[in-house]
């Protein structure tokens, strides 16, 4: 990704929206140095609170993992250790963040389980992941990520792998905990429905570039960028029954390719010649809303 700067306040949720395959997850993983050995960040940097995380040694980045930045992953079925009891997995993390003994972490662990809406934390602590449903596991993953609690939480498609009925429950929980612990949350998603549900601000990204950002209300009610418009029209509830869902033709361009014009020009239904030649200007539409687009500037 080239230069993207995001700011999130504590207690707020910023949603990053973009379609699958646009490099969101890889970026999320690279923040905490969690990429595989063979996938390295070739260039660029990730600055968090004034520190370039990509320049840190493994030992230094260790101080950020979980303590200052937490992560929730997409796949709750495989994210928990299969042969370790839930309680142990939690206390293992809690005792590190709070510098406590295992015994001292126990009540905090139970408290955490209560926070993620388990009525009988003692019982759940004794269970193994395979004894829990996907939604329950995702709540555990959230508890793990929040246990420090960190300053920033990155949730990468936290509800994608779950049943629709459970998605809302998880989202509400995240919103509740964001405020309770006063954490800044970056929610990565492809689903504008999720955005509407929880986020305060939205940032629409495409192939590593921000195309539009603003408050959730602004983006959903008054989208300016053609891409945002297309994404909104692709939502299932935007069409009448029987009607065909809108799709966006084409594919996300290769991130390594350097295009001189607007990154979305190849798929944009409104693109003109200048879109292909020169990068679009940044236009501020309000205090909070901002868009990169030639069409809007005309």
């Amino acid at each position: 990704m080239d230069r993207v700067s995001l700011s999130v306040d504590r207690g707020e949720i910023l949603a990053i929206v973009g379609e699958s395959g646009s490099g969101k997850s890889v970026t999320a993983l690279s923040i905490l140095g969690l990429l595989d050995k063979n996938a390295k960040i070739e260039q660029g940097n990730i600055v968090f609170d004034g520190t370039d995380l990509t320049k840190l040694s493994t030992k230094e980045i260790q101080k950020y993992r979980g303590k200052r930045i937490g992560m929730v992953f997409q796949e709750p079925m495989t994210a928990l250790h299969p042969t370790m009891r839930i309680g142990d997995q939690l206390t293992n993390v809690i005792k590190r963040h709070h510098k406590l003994t295992k015994k001292e972490s126990h009540p905090i662990m139970l408290e955490m389980l209560k926070d993620v809406h388990f009525e009988e934390p003692e019982l759940i602590a004794q269970k193994y992941p395979h004894e829990l449903s996907g939604g329950m596991r995702q709540r555990i993953v959230i508890a793990l990520a929040m246990s420090a609690p960190p300053e920033l939480l990155i949730a990468d498609e936290p509800t994608t792998a779950l049943d629709v009925t459970i998605q809302a429950e998880i989202l509400t929980l995240m919103k509740e905990l964001t405020q309770k612990y006063n954490i800044a949350v970056i929610l990565i998603t492809h689903d504008l429905g999720v955005v509407r549900e929880v986020s305060d601000n939205v940032c629409v990204m495409y192939a590593g570039k921000i195309l539009e950002k603003g408050t959730t209300k602004e983006i959903l009610d008054n989208p300016k960028h053609p891409y945002t418009n297309l994404l909104l029209r692709a939502l299932p509830d935007q069409v009448n029954p029987g009607e065909r869902l809108q799709e966006i033709e084409g594919e996300v361009p290769d991130l390594k390719q350097h295009l001189p014009g607007c990154i979305f020009s190849s798929r944009c239904p409104l693109s003109k010649d200048e879109c292909f030649i020169k990068a679009p200007p940044q236009l501020s539409l309000s205090e909070t809303q901002m868009v990169h687009c030639w069409e809007v500037s005309r």
Binding site: K67, N92, V93, R96
Partner: protein
């Protein structure tokens, strides 16, 4: 879990039946007449007939098998042609030496094999990994009798550092055996001299014997560690701030040990086979040396007795391994 244990135990019974059947059949297809072998060429026809009756050789085969089983159940494995002693008491006398050797070899294999496999996996494709892999390929390819001989040539004949035969130096004797394992007995009786000497004698044979199993364990731990470390739950734990060494040992190794346990169980087969050869090379007075000496005499009761005991031991070891596997994996436990 109970059901699995019951299932395993019933399989054990079946296997024991099969094993006894095989050893029985083998000892009855031996060319030659066991009765004649026992009494010698010059005995009269009458004595021969009497011995035949004693051995039950005049009865139909199925009755002979029943006799054989009844004998087994009362601990009768026949009489050794070579030593003229009951096979069972011969084996019992030689068993502790084999147990001690195998035990030390196994401990060495575990203590070195597991860390080596972990390091190899964590440092995949580095020079450390390459050395580890060459080392373990060597272990499964080297003939035990040859590595033993080379060890003797180097450490005994050339350098003179270590003893190369027997359990104790000549002149030393252990007066009281409790377990039959000299290192343990000498500790129990506080006899430091014997303890040091017996440990000294164990070094070469135990290391020689451990190499095969050590290599198997290293290879397996490396392979399963590589697999486990790529799992998502490792990534989650890492993202949550679990430090690397803790992650490798308590999150990774713990799961990598599951497949390893099975392989270790199976590798006891090569350990037991290797013990036969190792004992021969190092003049170690165990069951392996006993059976090799018996082979030279074509002493079939001893050979069959040994085979039976080893097969039963091997089956029991693998039963224990299965149970251990269940302890390690809560999903199998239910």
């Amino acid at each position: 879990m109970k059901r699995i244990i019951v299932k395993r135990l019933s399989l054990l019974v079946l296997v024991l039946f099969g094993v006894t059947l095989i050893t029985f059949v083998m000892s009855h297809v031996i060319p030659g007449d066991p009765a004649r072998m026992m009494v010698g060429q010059r005995a009269s026809e009458e004595t021969l007939q009497k011995v035949r009756e004693d051995l039950g050789l005049d009865q139909p085969v199925w009755a002979q098998y029943l006799l054989y089983i009844r004998g087994l159940l009362s601990g009768d494995l026949g009489t050794s042609i070579r030593t003229q002693q009951p096979v069972i008491s011969d084996l019992a006398a030689f068993f502790p030496a084999t147990l001690e050797l195998a035990l030390y070899a196994f401990i060495i294999a575990l203590l070195i094999g597991i860390p080596l496999g972990v390091i190899s996996a964590v440092k995949q494709n580095t020079i450390l990994d390459h050395i580890g892999r060459v080392f373990s390929i060597g272990g499964v390819s080297i003939p035990v009798f040859w590595s033993g001989i080379v060890a003797i040539i180097i450490f005994y004949a050339q350098l003179g550092w270590l003893p190369a035969s027997g359990r104790l130096s000549i002149g030393l004797e252990i007066n009281r055996t409790i377990t039959g394992l000299y290192t343990i007995d000498s500790l129990l009786t506080g006899n430091w001299k014997i303890f040091k000497d017996s440990l000294w004698h164990l070094i070469l044979p135990a290391i020689t014997l451990s190499y095969v199993q050590l290599a198997t364990i290293t290879r397996q731990v490396r392979a399963s560690m590589l697999e486990v470390l790529n799992q998502e739950y490792i990534r989650t734990a890492r993202a949550n701030g679990i430090e690397e060494w803790y992650l490798i040992i308590f999150y990774g190794l713990r799961n990598a040990l599951k497949p390893t346990v099975t392989v270790v169980g199976l590798s006891f087969g090569s350990l037991l086979g290797g013990a036969v050869v190792t004992e021969t090379i190092f003049a170690w007075p165990g069951m392996g040396k006993y059976v090799v000496d018996s082979i030279a005499f074509l002493d079939f009761p001893s050979i069959m007795g040994f085979t039976l005991i080893i097969a039963i031991g091997y089956v029991i070891i693998n039963l224990i391994v299965d149970l251990l596997y269940m302890v390690l994996d809560p999903q199998v436990r239910e």
